[in-house]
C-alpha cells in the first residue's frame, strides 16, 4: 500500500487562499496583493504561468472601453445582459461584473499585456455573440496566461504547485470557512492550509459525457477541470446554481476543439449529406445565426438522418482561405497538424463536423454560470468563501473570469480586514477532509474497477439520459445509476499520487452528474436551447420556471432545492441592437 511521505500534513498559513491558478484565480491573487494581503495560490499545474484552461493561448477579450460611441459603456452592455441570461442569474452580480470589465482590462494593460493588433498597433474590436456593440477585442493572447501568471508571482503571491485541493476546512460552527487541505500529485506531500478567506476558482466541469473519438480527455474544454471546486463547496453546505445546464459545441468530427462555429462567421457554408445548405431552415441569417442556433440545427439534422454534416469553405476567395487556414491554430495549437495527419485539405475538401461532448459551464450564455452562488462581493453563503470564474454563478470567458476574480480578491481582503479573530479550523473538519483524501490509498485490493471505469459509467449515463434530450424516465434511470456508482466509489483504489488525483476527480465528476440530473429532473420545461431540453416538456414556461435552480447539501434529506429569481428588468427604450 502506498503511504504518505510524512505522518502529518505540512501546516501552512495565509490570509487569502486561492484555489485554482487560471485567469480568475490570478486576478483574485493580484487584487488581494494590491491591498497588501498575504496570498497563497494552489493549482494542479507545476507553474502558475501554465495553469488553467487558457495556458495554451486565447484570442479575445470582451469589454466596453468608454471610448466614445454610445454602445461603448458598461451601462449600454448591461441593458443587453438579461437577454443573454434567460432568467438564470443574479443581475446585481452580473452588473457588478460588467462595470468591473473596463477596470480589470486597464489593470491587465498596466501589467504589460498587449491587447493591440500587432499589424496596426490599435485595438481591433469586433461584434460577436450578438452583443450590441464591438465589445470583443481580437488580440494575440498566445502568451496571455504566461504573463499573467508570472506577474502574479512577481507581485508577491506564493504558489503551491501540482497541488490538488480536495476539501475546505471550517471552524466549529461549520458556517465559517477556515482553510483547505490538498496534496501534491507527484510527491504526495499533504498541506493543511489555514486561511481567513478562500477564493475557489477551479473552472468548469468536463469528462462528463462521451464524444465521437471515445477518448475522454479529447475534450473541447480543459479536461483537467473536473468540478473539484463545485464538489468541495457543496460538501460544506454552499449553494450551487444552474447545474442542469449543458454546453456543447460544433467541432471537427474526431477532434473536440473550439472555434468551428466561428467558421460560419468567416463565410463558411454548412452542408448536410445531401449537399443542402440547411441552416436557412432554422434561421433567416443562415450560417450567421447565433451559436446556440447553429448547434441546435446540427443536432436536428443529425436526428433527421442527415449526418454527416460538413463545413465547406471551398467557395471562398483564395486570400480568405489563406486567413482561414492561418488562424486555425489560434484556438487550438495542434489543429493544423491534426488536419495534416488526417490528410485533409480544407481548402479543397469538405470538413466533416459533429457535436462535442458536453460540459457543465454556463449553458452557452455569458453573465450566468453553473456553480457557486455568490453576492456582489463574490462571497457565498459561507462566510469567508468566495468564488469566481467558470465554477461560479456569473461567468463568461476570460473577461468575466478576470472581472469576477478581481471582485473576489477585493472581497476576500475586506473579509480578512473585518475579521477580528482568525477562524480556527475545526479538528473534525480536518480529520474528515484528510480521511476522504486518503480513501483510495486505503483500499487494499482492486475489487471494483479503476477511476476510468467509474468515469466511463458516469459518461454513459449522462450521454444517454441526462444530455441533449431529457425525459423524466431517463433522468430517473440516470439518477438511480449514479447513486449505484456512488457505492462503487468506496472501492476505487489508487497506487500512485497521480492516480489518487484522478480517483478524486472521478468522484467529483460523478457528484456533478448527480446534481445535474437532480436539477434537470426538477426543471419541467425546456430553456435556453440545447442547454436544457426536455422531450416531455418541450415548451419554455416563463410563468413558472423563469428562475434558477439552487442546490445545496442537506445532511438530513440529501439534496435541498431552492430558487433564485432574477430582478425584474425594465424594457429598454432601445435594444441597442443597431448600435
Amino acid at each position: 500500500m502506498l503511504t504518505w511521505p510524512s505522518m502529518e500534513p505540512t501546516r501552512l498559513h495565509t490570509e487569502v487562499l486561492v484555489i485554482g491558478g487560471g485567469v480568475a484565480g490570478c486576478l483574485a491573487a493580484i487584487q488581494a496583493r494590491d491591498a497588501g494581503a498575504d496570498v497563497l495560490v494552489a493549482d494542479k499545474a507545476r507553474f502558475l504561468e501554465r495553469a488553467g484552461s487558457v495556458a495554451g493561448g486565447v484570442d479575445q477579450f470582451m469589454t466596453p472601453l468608454n471610448d466614445g460611441p454610445d454602445w461603448d459603456t458598461p451601462e449600454h452592455l448591461m441593458q443587453f445582459v438579461p437577454m443573454l441570461t434567460d432568467g438564470l442569474t443574479d443581475l446585481d452580480v452580473a452588473e457588478r461584473a460588467v462595470h468591473e470589465l473596463p477596470r480589470v482590462f486597464q489593470r491587465l494593460c498596466d501589467i504589460g499585456i498587449d491587447f493591440t493588433d500587432p499589424t496596426t498597433g490599435e485595438f481591433f474590436r469586433t461584434r460577436a455573440f450578438g452583443l450590441p456593440g464591438e465589445y470583443h477585442l481580437n488580440f494575440d493572447g498566445s502568451l496571455f496566461k504566461h504573463r499573467l501568471g508570472r506577474y502574479t508571482v512577481g507581485h508577491g503571491a506564493r504558489f503551491l504547485p501540482r497541488t490538488m485541493i480536495t476539501d475546505l476546512l471550517t471552524d466549529a460552527t461549520g458556517q465559517r470557512i477556515a482553510g483547505a487541505v490538498g496534496f501534491n500529485c507527484r510527491t504526495g506531500e499533504r498541506d493543511a492550509i489555514r486561511a481567513t478567506a478562500v477564493v475557489v476558482a477551479t473552472g468548469d466541469i468536463n469528462r462528463i459525457s462521451r464524444n465521437v473519438s471515445g477518448l475522454p480527455f479529447d475534450s473541447w474544454h480543459y479536461p483537467y477541470n473536473t468540478g473539484d471546486g463545485h464538489a468541495m463547496v457543496y460538501r460544506r453546505g454552499a449553494r450551487l446554481v444552474n447545474m442542469e445546464l449543458v454546453e456543447a459545441t460544433l467541432t471537427p468530427l474526431g477532434f473536440s476543439t473550439q472555434g468551428t462555429n466561428s467558421y460560419a462567421g468567416q463565410g463558411a457554408h454548412f452542408l448536410n449529406r445531401h449537399g443542402e445548405r440547411f441552416m436557412f431552415k432554422y434561421d433567416p441569417k443562415g450560417e450567421k445565426a447565433r451559436r446556440t442556433i447553429l448547434v441546435n440545427a446540427v443536432i436536428e439534422e443529425v436526428l433527421a438522418g442527415n449526418e454527416p454534416i460538413y463545413v465547406d469553405i471551398r467557395h471562398l476567395p483564395e486570400d480568405t482561405k489563406d486567413d482561414f487556414v492561418r488562424t486555425l491554430g489560434v484556438d487550438r495549437y495542434t489543429l493544423p497538424s491534426y488536419f495534416r495527419q488526417r490528410g485533409l485539405d480544407i481548402r479543397h475538401e469538405l470538413l466533416p463536423i459533429g457535436i462535442s461532448e458536453m460540459s457543465i459551464r454556463r449553458g452557452g450564455s455569458y453573465f450566468r454560470g453553473s456553480g457557486l452562488v455568490v453576492d456582489t462581493a463574490a462571497e457565498s453563503n459561507l462566510t469567508g468563501l468566495f468564488g469566481a470564474g467558470d465554477c461560479s454563478m456569473v461567468s463568461g470567458g476570460i473577461s468575466v473570469a478576470a472581472a469576477m476574480g478581481a471582485i473576489a480578491g477585493r472581497g476576500a481582503v475586506d473579509r480578512v480586514r473585518s475579521t477580528e479573530t482568525e477562524p480556527e479550523p475545526d479538528d473534525d473538519s480536518v480529520t474528515d477532509s484528510l480521511g476522504r483524501m486518503a480513501e483510495p490509498l486505503e483500499v487494499e485490493e482492486e475489487d471494483g474497477g479503476g477511476w476510468s471505469d467509474l468515469e466511463d459509467a458516469v459518461r454513459d449515463l449522462v450521454t444517454d439520459y441526462v444530455g441533449m434530450r431529457r425525459t423524466e424516465r431517463g433522468l430517473r434511470r440516470a439518477h438511480e445509476g449514479l447513486l449505484d456508482l456512488k457505492q462503487q466509489e468506496a472501492l476505487l483504489r489508487a497506487t500512485s499520487f497521480h492516480e489518487l488525483m484522478r480517483s478524486l476527480e472521478a468522484k467529483n465528476i460523478r457528484l456533478a452528474a448527480e446534481l445535474m440530473t437532480v436539477a434537470a429532473a426538477h426543471r419541467t420545461e425546456s430553456r435556453s436551447g440545447a442547454a436544457h431540453r426536455r422531450l416531455d416538456h418541450p415548451a419554455t414556461d416563463d410563468a413558472v420556471w423563469r428562475k434558477a435552480i439552487v442546490l445545496s447539501h442537506d445532511p438530513a434529506t440529501g439534496v435541498d432545492v431552492e430558487y433564485l429569481v432574477e430582478r425584474p428588468t425594465p424594457v429598454p427604450a432601445s435594444t441597442g441592437g443597431d448600435a
Binding site: 462521451r210 465521437v212 479529447d218 474526431g254 477532434f255 454534416i309 487550438r332 495542434t334 431517463g474
Partner: protein, 92 residues
C-alpha cells in the same frame, strides 16, 4: 477502459531531445514525466490522459516533440446520433 490502447500521443525524438524538463513542467495533465538531472528521455506516463493541446510541442526548445493523433481521432467511426441520448424504455 476507454482510451486509445497502446497509442503514444507524444513522440520524442531521442536524437534532438536535450532532457531539459520543460515538457514535464508545461504538461497540464501531469502526463509527461522526466527525472530531474537525468539524461534519460522523458516518459509518457499517462498516454490516455493527453489533451492533445501541444503545449509540450510548442514549448520544446529543441523542437524534439511531435503530437501524434490516434486512429480514433483521425478516422472516427462513432455516429453522432449515439451521443444525443436514448430511449430509457429500451433495455440493452
Amino acid at each position: 477502459m476507454s482510451g486509445a490502447q497502446g497509442h503514444n500521443p507524444i513522440a520524442i525524438n531521442p536524437d534532438t531531445c536535450i532532457t531539459c524538463m520543460i515538457c514535464d513542467y508545461v504538461c497540464p495533465g501531469d502526463v509527461i514525466h522526466q527525472k530531474p538531472r537525468s539524461k534519460e528521455l522523458p516518459v509518457i506516463a499517462y498516454p490516455d490522459e493527453c489533451w492533445y493541446c501541444g503545449l509540450c510541442e510548442q514549448a520544446c526548445p529543441a523542437d524534439a516533440i511531435t503530437v501524434v493523433f490516434p486512429q480514433e481521432m483521425l478516422d472516427p467511426t462513432t455516429p453522432v446520433t449515439s451521443l444525443l441520448g436514448r430511449d430509457p424504455e429500451r433495455r440493452t
